[in-house]
């Protein structure tokens, strides 16, 4: 589900990463048990007033504050306790408080991930686990990519591979991951465009991206409280020229810091949990200096015929 954030927020121009809370996302070390399906709606609000035009930080009186609201549906199904699939579908709406530009809205990209935990072993008094996450996203609608910063996304198909390691000792945990994101070319409505040279085509070559995520905090069955640092780097791309509009293939980088809380209110078989969190951008390039808040409710459906007999590990929900 964090992936959703990435699709929606990181990838959207000027909207910096919001890391969705600690609820079975593709970027956390939490696995659903076998035949258990965690699903729920989420809402996020991102806004920025200042942005980086290349490396120059500025505001824009003709945009004011740009906001992005997102309502999404996320799900995570445990094929086994070591192999999960995850999805998310967001609806996104953008707005600028000043100037004359019309906001945009629509269903954005479907994200799908497979999350595998091949290694889980006790060491140094705790549990070490290693994860591989592979997946991708693709646009569900023909939304406009070339109206940055008010486009709802970049309309690029992506494929990503992530390596993630987690260590938990008692209720303390630390998780680190690195992701490579392949991004497919996108097509825009005009027949030519200028980046650092002229292109007589409607197709844009999108630079790939890399993401690094570090999170640590308290994790138990009942409560997760964590601090998160995330760094998104576009591998290539060009800077916005002076007083120009942003473009999908800009070099968009952002480092965010944030915190999440997950609280399980009904720790029964079909548990309900609440997730809330936020983050803010501490460094960036060709993106907004954004702050994001989000919240969601998750409901777990258990498709096991019998009540579970074995106790799940603390980090398995």
């Amino acid at each position: 589900m964090n992936r959703k954030l990435k699709a929606i927020v990181i990838f959207i121009f000027f909207i910096t990463t919001a890391h969705i809370a600690a609820a079975q996302t593709d970027m956390d070390a939490i696995m659903m048990g076998k035949k258990r399906f965690c699903v729920g709606p989420m809402y996020s609000y991102t806004s920025w007033k200042n942005y980086w035009e290349g490396t120059l930080k500025r505001d824009n009186q003709n945009l004011g504050t740009v906001s992005t609201q997102m309502i999404g549906l996320m799900g995570n199904y445990g094929i086994t306790s070591k192999l999960n699939v995850l999805f998310s579908v967001p609806y996104v709406k953008t707005k600028a408080t000043a100037g004359t530009l019309h906001g945009m809205k629509g269903i954005q990209d479907l994200s799908l991930f497979v999350k595998w935990m091949p290694i889980e072993k006790e060491m140094l008094g705790g549990v070490f686990s290693l994860y591989g996450i592979a997946g991708g996203s693709f646009p569900l609608t023909n939304y406009v990519a070339d109206f940055q910063p008010l486009s709802i996304g970049l309309h690029s198909k992506t494929a990503s591979g992530r390596l993630m390691a987690d260590y938990q000792a008692g209720s303390f945990f630390v998780t680190a991951s690195a992701t490579y994101v392949l991004r497919d070319n996108v097509k825009i409505d005009r027949t030519s465009y200028y980046t650092t040279e002229m292109y007589y085509t409607n197709e844009i070559k999108m630079p790939d991206g890399a993401n690094y995520n570090f999170r640590t905090g308290y994790r138990s069955e009942k409560l997760i409280a964590e601090a998160v640092v995330n760094k998104w780097n576009t591998l290539g791309g060009f800077d916005i020229t002076r007083n120009n509009m942003p473009f999908p293939s800009n070099k968009m980088n952002a480092t965010t810091v944030g915190a999440n809380i997950k609280y399980v209110i009904l720790p029964v078989k079909n548990e309900v949990s609440l997730v809330a969190g936020g983050n803010t951008t501490v460094a960036g390039r060709n993106m907004g200096q954004s702050t994001t808040f989000y919240g969601s409710v998750f409901y777990v459906l258990d498709f096991n015929h019998k009540a579970k007999t074995s106790t799940q590990p603390a980090k398995t929900n």
Binding site: H102, G132, V144, R190, T191, Y193, M198, N243
Partner: protein, 516 residues
Amino acid sequence: MKKFFIFSGFLIVAAAVFFAGCNKDIVGRTDNLSALAPANTDLNAGIWKPVLLTGPSEFAVPAPIATNTPEYIAQINEIKSWQADLTTDEKRIIKYWSAGAVLRWNEILRELVAKHNLPPYQNEDGTYPFPNANNPLAYPQFPFSNPPYAARAYACVSAAQYDALVAAWYYKKLYNRAAPYNVDATINVLIPKSDLPSYPSEDAVVAGTAAELLKLLFPGDQEYIQQKVEEHKRARILSGANVRSDIEAGETLGKLVAQKFVTRARGDRAGAAIGNQAGWTKLETDCIARGETPWYSLELPKRPPMLPVFGKVKSFLFDSLTAISLRPGPPPLVNSKDMKDETEEIFQMVKNPTRERTRIVHFWADGAGTYTPPGHWDAIAAEDFVTKNFSEVRWARNMALLNMAMGDAAIVCWDTKYFYFNPRPTQLNPNIKTITGIPNFPSYISGHSTFSGAAAAILGHIIPERAEQYNAMANEASMSRMYGGIHYKSDCTVGLVVGKNVGNYAVQRAITDGAE
């Protein structure tokens, strides 16, 4: 450890499968054109009517050296030695330039326009700086190639290339020196052969003309332009199309003709088109005195209007009195029911734009950072001209007709805009949020509509079988400004008519210039 390898393999395979066979390299529509092989060399184009030249021989081109002289043979040998070991890059430039000199220089000009079409950022005190032609690399860089600036640039360069090629064709026929491959059959010919005399080189004429004019129009990009000139000339020798003396004579002729257009451009009043604070204030007070609501800038901080005196620039196809006579009657009064209805119509259009209408808005927007609407029409024309196998001189003539029409359309349109000084829809109803940026000048009449009306008129004459499509495109370009929320219907419908009227002057010229 075994698990780790399986697991790494899983990641790699997953990513590879997803993007299997996916090639991200993009190819421009004109990247791989075949070489220009004119259906007709237009050998008699030396008698076509020039734009500024008093006649094709106004600038003398010396008689070429004979093909049996040692000096000429040395030049043939130069081709052979250059061809002995062609690099990949040399093959690339031969292919690139062989698509057509007028085409490639038009593309380069479009690129420079797009690069420089950016409104300057404001000063600390909320005023705006203006580019300075004498210090082009300081911010804001010179020029700000907005639509009127661009329209004039396209017109100047195209008209100059046309005149220079008419002169070149005159000398080609006069001196009748065969192309090097027709003199020495052992030369490796990497371009289509032609019976057209090669002295002076039409490619060098076009390059020389462009280089000389672009010094004036894009003074900060000289290194890039000069690099293109050298590459172009080199490509022609490498390909066996020209000997060095063809190139030298052509470049010299091109520069001489261009200097005449530079002189004209220095005196065409474009330099004063920005106006000054007193003039900007007067536009507002005059409008109020007429009992009307004046336009004001919707940018923050308020930006001075774009080139308010551009309507006084000297036109190519008619005199200044005719330019004024082409100005249409007034738009509906701001407080009239008609204007209220027109404003409401735009509000309804932009409330919930459809994807298709947004596509149309963005397809034709040609706003900041693009080659502007005249550049878009040049691109449309160029891609159609490619299919016609015009000779270089006919390419230039057709581009000149198109760009003089659009350059003059800019003049009449800007004259009209500042004569009426009419507000944009969003000024009358701030709830109108636009699907593209609102240009920083008055509403009536629509620039896109005027450019497009003019372009469709002349292009429909040049390629009659496409006339209907050109009109449909012009209508769509015009409507895109209403869909975008930045123009009223009357701006667009009147703009199309005015554009067509201007375009008809180009049609009249086309009928009488000796090329048809």
